[in-house]
């Protein structure tokens, strides 16, 4: 077998493998979060007093990081910049997944570049915060540094391709789009690109087993997703519904 064919085979297999682990892993976790019962009402003040308020509260925490804002402004600003830069970069990458590219994805390209530059800086800022405050330093461990390092490397290899090695975009798109359409095509032999891919696969596989599950878990946090009306509406504990049971 020719080396380039072998390489394509390996990367195609890894890509599907990583995506499978990611999807199955995240789905399994979310399923568990969803189906684990909440025996009691435990919303934290200020909680909405009717169910209508719940999505608004969660929206505030997911989109604006409201609770973090109350807790620590410096981490908040770092967190906001990091997450939105990450989001922009991911959206920018959608151009590789569609043909023809949707207009809105193309219109994000310029902003996506800035986000791409901001992303590693935000990671460095978060790293600096983590190590410069004795409290966060104390609670941080290998896993926390690992994710930061991983995302940093993904961002940097990405930027390298944008500004330095510049692989053939047509080939890159060909490979990614081939994966999307289940019609695998040759992986471009460009070490930086291959490294970039490997790191992304690592992130995907690592995701469901790590704290990165905060992204889905937040929607299931009982202190945030319950409303404060226990006197008006009787909450039933599913595993012990009746008195004297």
């Amino acid at each position: 077998m020719e080396p380039s064919v072998l390489l394509t085979l390996v990367f195609t297999a890894m890509a599907y493998g990583a995506i499978a682990v990611f999807v199955a892993g995240v789905a399994a976790k979310l399923y568990r979060y969803k189906t684990t019962p909440s025996p009691l009402r435990i919303p934290t003040t200020p909680a909405p007093i009717s169910p209508i308020g719940v999505p608004f509260r969660i929206f505030g925490d997911v989109v604006f990081f409201n609770s973090l804002f109350k807790g620590n402004k410096w981490t908040w600003i770092g967190g906001i910049v990091f997450h939105y830069a990450f989001l922009m970069v991911v959206l920018r990458h959608l151009r590789y997944f569609f043909y023809p590219e949707p207009g809105w994805v193309m219109s994000l390209q310029a902003a996506g570049i800035y986000a791409g530059i901001l992303l590693p800086l935000a990671v460095l800022y978060l790293l600096m915060r983590r190590t410069s405050v004795d409290r966060t330093m104390f609670v941080s461990s290998l896993a926390d540094y690992f994710v930061l390092a991983l995302i940093f490397c993904i961002a940097v290899t990405g930027l390298l391709m944008k500004y330095y090695v510049r692989p053939f975009m047509v080939d890159v798109k060909g490979f990614v789009y081939g994966l999307v359409t289940l019609n695998p095509s040759a992986v471009p032999f460009e070490p930086v690109f291959l490294l970039h891919l490997l790191l992304v696969f690592t992130l995907l596989v690592y995701f469901p087993f790590s704290k990165l599950m905060h992204s889905g878990g937040i929607f299931f946090s009982p202190t945030r997703n319950q409303c404060d009306n226990p006197r008006e509406k009787r909450h039933i504990n599913p595993w012990s519904p009746n008195l004297g049971a």
Partner: protein
């Protein structure tokens, strides 16, 4: 009892980030539970020989029963937002008292035995074997948490360390490694009916005494009825209100309010305890067993309304959990909330002009209000958001001329715990309690220095007990601590009813 060494922090009026001192309170442990108390609660009397397997099993069970535990053990990103929010960290400087570090004590064992990554990668992902040292660390630091939920407010995902503390305590109980103070008290409730262990006749005689005392000191004729079948209102209150100071003064306040309202009311010797330490050990069955007496009290007395006295954790359970535990309250009059807080009750009367209050009776006082954390973050009052902050303050303002609030980042949902809640109100933990009270005391000192505050009003039996104990250590008079209904008791003008 051996004298415990204490170290009282110096108050500066504002609480700053401490310089961390590893292991600062690692040696302060609550006493292990006694066999007879554990057995009475349905737990093993002593540490099981196969405690390790049993502990992991119990954790796995809890993970299937509590969404909070499952989600919270997984999703903490160690952002650090909670690290400077716990009064026990701020006061003791021990980094293990940072909420996230406290959670990690349980999390590392969770990872090791119950997650794929922990089983495979072990220490690389902070997974750690469960050892006897771990158990002792749990027994130390999960009993230096008052389950006040302050950390949860500031966590981007609402991670509630109280839920984790409860789970850890449940696991410890399940393997026979409980805590003396809490289990002893629940045992008293099981056998006698209240936390103080006062049988009905003893309660009756203290009530008679209090009635006499109120008459002698204020000239007011009030009643403290007990076990009156068919009374309009059943009052359920912490048993400390029958006995402890300053709690009794609030009881006198309730009695006067009921009298002015012209309602028949009663206490119950069967449902003689609003407190429910089942919450502190997080065990659903125990919590429900304790709460069951309230349901039985309702069946015995057959009241139209259920009113609840001043108590923090008890109000959280009553407001947030009773309906689940012992509801629905179909036999009660649906026109009133069930249960109704005594502050809601009094506030309603004040709003309707049904109480005559002489504010000058409290002119000696510059009053400030401590939002008890279980009320502030775990329950509510009234029919609006934040009612638990507004209603007690409105009552206070109606009973005195001088009210001032402490600094905004120490009140409402940001309130600091008194340092004695959650099942740690026991002598061997006094050093931790004193230090845990420090942020609250600092806020009080600040308002004292700037506005001359000299009355620390609150609505929690545990806070009252804790603060009267802790105030003298900080050089303040214990008489500065009192209930909201203590102010009502002083200001209310008996007799002259004005259009109820």
């Amino acid at each position: 009892m051996a004298k415990v060494k204490v170290e009282v922090p110096v108050l500066t009026g504002s609480t700053v980030f401490p310089v961390m001192k590893e292991g600062a309170t690692s040696g302060i442990k609550s006493h292990l539970a006694k066999e007879k108390d554990m057995v009475a609660l349905g737990f093993p009397g002593a540490l099981l020989p196969d405690w390790k397997e049993r502990a992991v099993e119990r954790m796995a069970e809890l993970l299937k029963k509590y969404k909070s535990l499952q989600v919270y053990l997984d999703i903490c990103v160690k952002c650090g937002s909670c690290t400077d929010k716990c009064q026990f960290y701020l006061g003791t400087k021990d980094p293990r008292n940072m909420p996230v570090a406290r959670q990690e004590l349980l999390r590392k064992v969770y990872r090791r035995y119950l997650t794929v990554s922990g089983k495979v990668l072990g220490p690389l992902v902070d997974a750690e074997d469960l050892t006897m040292e771990t158990l002792d660390e749990w027994h130390t630091y999960f009993y230096q948490c008052s389950e006040c939920r302050r950390c949860s407010v500031y966590c981007p995902y609402g991670i509630d360390t109280a839920e984790i503390t409860m789970a850890a305590r449940e696991i410890l109980d399940a393997i026979g490694y409980g805590q003396k103070y809490i289990t002893e008290i629940i045992h008293k409730v099981y056998t006698i009916g209240n936390n103080l262990g006062m049988p009905g006749p003893a309660i009756q005689s203290t009530l008679d005494f209090i009635v006499e005392d109120i008459k002698d000191t204020t000239g007011a004729e009030v009643e403290l009825p007990m076990d009156v079948v068919g009374a309009d209102v059943l009052l359920v209150t912490p048993s400390a209100d029958f006995f402890a100071s300053p709690h009794v003064e609030s009881l006198a306040g309730y009695a006067k309010v009921f009298k002015q309202a012209g309602l028949s009311w009663t206490l119950s010797s069967h449902a003689s305890e609003a407190g429910n330490f089942g919450m502190f050990i997080g065990n659903f069955e125990v919590m429900r067993n304790v709460a069951k007496r309230i349901r039985e009290g309702i069946e015995i007395i057959k009241p139209k309304r259920l009113v609840h006295g001043e108590c923090g954790h008890a109000w959280r359970i009553a407001y947030s959990f009773w309906n689940t535990l012992i509801g629905p309250f179909d036999s009660l009059d649906p026109n009133y909330p069930a249960p109704q807080h005594i502050c809601e009750f009094t506030h309603d009367l004040i709003k309707r002009g049904a109480l005559k209050l002489d504010k000058t009776a409290n002119d000696d006082f510059v009053v400030t209000f401590h939002d008890s954390c279980n009320v502030a973050r775990g329950a509510r009052m009234g029919n609006m958001k934040g009612g638990q902050f507004v209603i007690p303050r409105e009552i206070i303002k109606a009973t005195c001329n001088k009210f001032v609030d402490m600094a905004p980042n120490t009140i409402h949902e940001h309130t600091f715990c008194c340092g004695g809640g959650g099942g740690i109100l026991t002598d061997e933990l006094i050093d931790v309690r004193i230090k845990g009270a420090m942020p609250r005391m600092n806020a009080y000192k600040a308002i004292k220095d700037s506005h001359g505050a000299n009355f620390f009003a609150l609505i929690c039996a545990i806070c009252k007990a804790q603060m009267t104990k802790v105030f003298p250590y900080y050089g303040y008079e214990m008489e500065e601590v009192g209930g909201v209904h203590q102010l009502v008791n002083r200001a209310i003008v008996m007799g002259g009813k004005e259009g109820i």
